[in-house]
Amino acid sequence: MGPTPWLACAVAAAVTLPLVYLVVRAGAGGGAGFVRAVVSDLTARLLGRTLLLTLAVGGASLALALPVAWLVVRTDLPGRRTWAVLAALPLVFPSYVAAFTWVAFFGVGGYLDRWALALGAPWLDLSWLAEGFPGALAVLTLFSYPYIYLLLVAALRDVDPALEESARSLGCGRWRTFLRVTVPQVRPALSAGTLLVVLYTLSDFGAVSIVRYNTFTLAIYNAYRGLFDRSVAASLAIVLVLLTVGFIALEAFLSRGQRPGRVRAARRSRPVPLGPWRAPATALLTLVVGSGLALPVAVVISWVVRAVALGNPLGRVGGALLASVQVSLLAAVAAVVLSLPAALWSVRQPGTLSHLVERVTHAGYALPGLVVALALVFFATRTLMPLYQTTTLLVAAYVIRFLPEALAATRSSLASLSPVFEEAARSLGRTRGQVTRQLVLPLIRPGLLAGGGLVFLTAMKELPATLILRPTGMETLATRVWSGASEAIWSLAAVPSLLLLLASAPPMYLLVIRPALADRRGGAG
């Protein structure tokens, strides 16, 4: 047994610190306190609504990500590279900004409603889309489906065309081939991405509170906001952790018996000609990109225009841009590096323990950022005071929160890589470390970049932990957006929102999209 398992265990232990904190805090209220905090009609109802929303968003995101990813990777869709980038960009909006723009557009009295009135076209009134369950489903799906989409783009690129061609030549229809041959090959990416979306939905507070669909996080925030009671909040957060464990177990159950990876495809598949399907395919992408990207951008620009017209200040953002990029980049690199031991161990030496450790690192992912931040305040002020309120601790918080994103990418790309190369190299006398460095890492590079890209993008917009853990005086784009939005001063929120988008697009292209779409260089790659 090499150092990998030990490293994986160390990372898992660090990532589960927030859970230790929760037990300490909930313990302060005693067993009876826990029951009192958790058992109530309200928590039961909120739990039901949360489950409903989570499953719906997971399903809808899957249904959206699969066709979109397939269209941009595997077909001759005109402008597919541009579409590929645009379709991933909704991810860069903080969920509360996304929800606000959504309501400003679709809500009663919003832009669409006013047009409907002006044009005398009541059918244009889609305000039901901006509130309650439909609102939450629409916003969370549109703005978090890229988690699945990005992992899928990387996975689809590596699908072996030989298998599909064999299936076709054996008389399998195109649709059947897709479902029976293509989809199973990208199943690790599908299930890992869906798990991320599901856990993200569980942890979201911003979007659901704005479209007025109350979920379980509301109960946690109420405990802090109204009662200033940390043990009640911690007890409720433990319920959220248990829910997360349930979803993780479900994912493990659904991905059981996954086939071992195949030999990496020696060539890329030829693009599927869309023929008459070009128009509907373009329409689908226009709809997705229009509502997930063009719409929020247009609303934000309308805020800028209004602010300029009124002569209101737009605020300072230069330092915030630099700080955001810097801490997010550090978090991305650290998360990818730290995800490797757990991924290598669980994929290459599958066993109860390695799977358990790999899964445990997901447990805190569905916790609201506030809870993770308070856990770090708790530990840092007691044991690591010199690190408190430094960028180091902030980056650590990002890694703890977002490691599962890097892990999902690393693990799914490793899982679809056949071990035969590694076995061959080992039999030729290379050590395990040499094989990992010289063979495995270069081969799964698109997956590593995608994982780093995801962490980068999520860290760029992270708010609750940033507010609490940043060095005093440091501003990020997300805190600048919050400064304006929390007081409904939209002119201050607009420019940082746009910058967030502009700063996130190039790394997304370079790290995630471009490697995934790059033409295969000759040979076995």
């Binding site: 309200l42 109802r45 809500g107 009663v108 009295g109 919003g110 409603d113 509170s209 704005i210 007025r212 109350n214 925030y221 109420n222 906001r225 109204g226 009662l227 200033f228 940390r230 909040a233 209004r306 602010a307 009124l310 209101n312 990029v325 810097q326 550090l330 690199v333 506030l370 931040a373 308070l374 305040v377 002020t381 007691r382 005071m385 408190y388 430094t390 960028t391 970049l449 609750p464 507010l467 609490i468 060095p471 005093t472 005086g473 440091m474 805190t479 400064s483 304006g484 929390s486 007081e487 409904a488 001063i489 002119s491 201050l492 790394p507 370079l510 790290l511 490697p515 790059a518 260089r521």
Partner: protein, 337 residues
């Protein structure tokens, strides 16, 4: 091609690592330590004021901004190790919570004496800086002032069914209900909440979304703090929105406060509190944040409607002491969903 791509990625990484060099918040030498302020009030509201203090006195002030409740949770986790000298709070309940946990230091009597006893802690551990009145915001294109409720109890009248908005999870609404409970009693609060639920008001996450909804015409009126409308009007001067103080007395137009507490023994902290109660700072609240100055002798901005007479202002200790029960009553009433 591959070389180019690798180089770009590598350069990005190096840039990030290079920037990461010195920590931005490197602690200055002990002699010129900055005064650390935790602010639950946003930078847009108090940033310019604290900057002005730094300029006038030469004291360096480092401010951390965040939500009031999140800040309280952070301060409680930090305990005695907190780097904070002062806490600026959005509401009295948060200051009360810190006081109960023993985090705050007593303020000098001279300072406390400058604010009406209704707007400071009985134990002298915090003091109010500015007043935030609960009001009705309405859309004059949808409803006239004559049709609006005169008291909180009027909101249970069936004729208002589906016509107004509330923010049941917002701290200001909760404090308002706690004030009602503190003066009218538990049964009256239950009846009020049940009657409001009957009328199926639209629920919003916070005051600003209610103001926004009223202006858009989604609801005719809503229960909010008075200054949100002023901010909305500064972005959209022609927007159809007006404030209205319910004239029926009682706590219908309850005045909540934003205040300050001291967390360290640094004498500079008390000096800042002193300045925040000065005429300069109090005028700032009146003119820039549209709030009611609480220190004696400073009059509010010209545009601000005078506070309604006859508000039966309960003391904040009494309000804080029934907050837990009030929240339970709000949740039990079903208003939250």
């Amino acid at each position: 091609m591959r070389l180019l791509q690798n180089t770009i990625v590598l350069l990005l990484l190096l840039a990030g690592l290079a920037c990461a060099g010195p920590e931005p918040a490197e602690p200055p030498p002990a002699a010129e330590r900055a005064l650390v302020v935790y602010s639950g009030r946003s930078e847009a509201l108090v940033g310019p004021l604290l900057e002005r203090y730094g300029e006038e006195t030469g004291v360096s002030v480092a401010v951390r901004y965040g939500g009031t409740a999140e800040m309280v949770a952070t301060l409680l986790e930090e305990g005695a190790n907190t780097p904070a000298d002062l806490f600026l709070s959005q509401d009295a309940a948060a200051l009360g919570a810190l006081s109960r946990e023993g985090s705050l230091r007593a303020l000098p009597a001279e300072l406390l004496g400058r604010v009406d006893s209704a707007y400071r802690a009985p134990n002298g551990e915090w003091v109010g800086l500015s007043g935030r009145a609960r009001t009705v915001v309405y859309n004059p294109e949808r409803i006239t002032p004559e049709e609006l409720p005169r008291t909180l109890e009027d909101l249970t009248d069936p004729r208002y069914a589906g016509r107004f908005g509330v923010a049941p999870t917002n701290a200001s609404f909760q404090a308002h209900m706690a004030a009602y409970r503190a003066t009218a009693g538990a049964e009256a609060l239950e009846a009020l909440l049940a009657g409001m639920v009957e009328n199926a008001p639209r629920r919003y996450p916070k005051n600003s979304t209610i103001v926004d909804a009223v202006i858009r015409g989604e609801v005719e009126f809503g229960l909010v703090n008075h200054y949100y409308l002023w901010r909305a009007l500064s972005e959209e001067p022609e927007a159809p929105g007006r404030n209205y103080f319910m004239p029926g007395g009682g706590v219908s137009s309850f005045v909540n406060l934003a205040g300050v507490g001291v967390l360290s023994d640094d004498p500079e902290a008390v000096r800042l509190v002193d300045w925040l109660l000065s005429e300069t700072a109090q005028e700032y609240f009146a003119r820039e944040t549209y709030e009611y100055p609480l220190a004696a002798g400073v009059t509010p901005a010209v545009d601000l409607e005078p506070l309604p007479a006859g508000v039966d202002q309960p003391d904040f200790e009494a309000v804080s002491s029934v907050l837990v029960e009030t929240l339970a009553a709000i949740q039990a009433s079903g208003l939250v969903e």
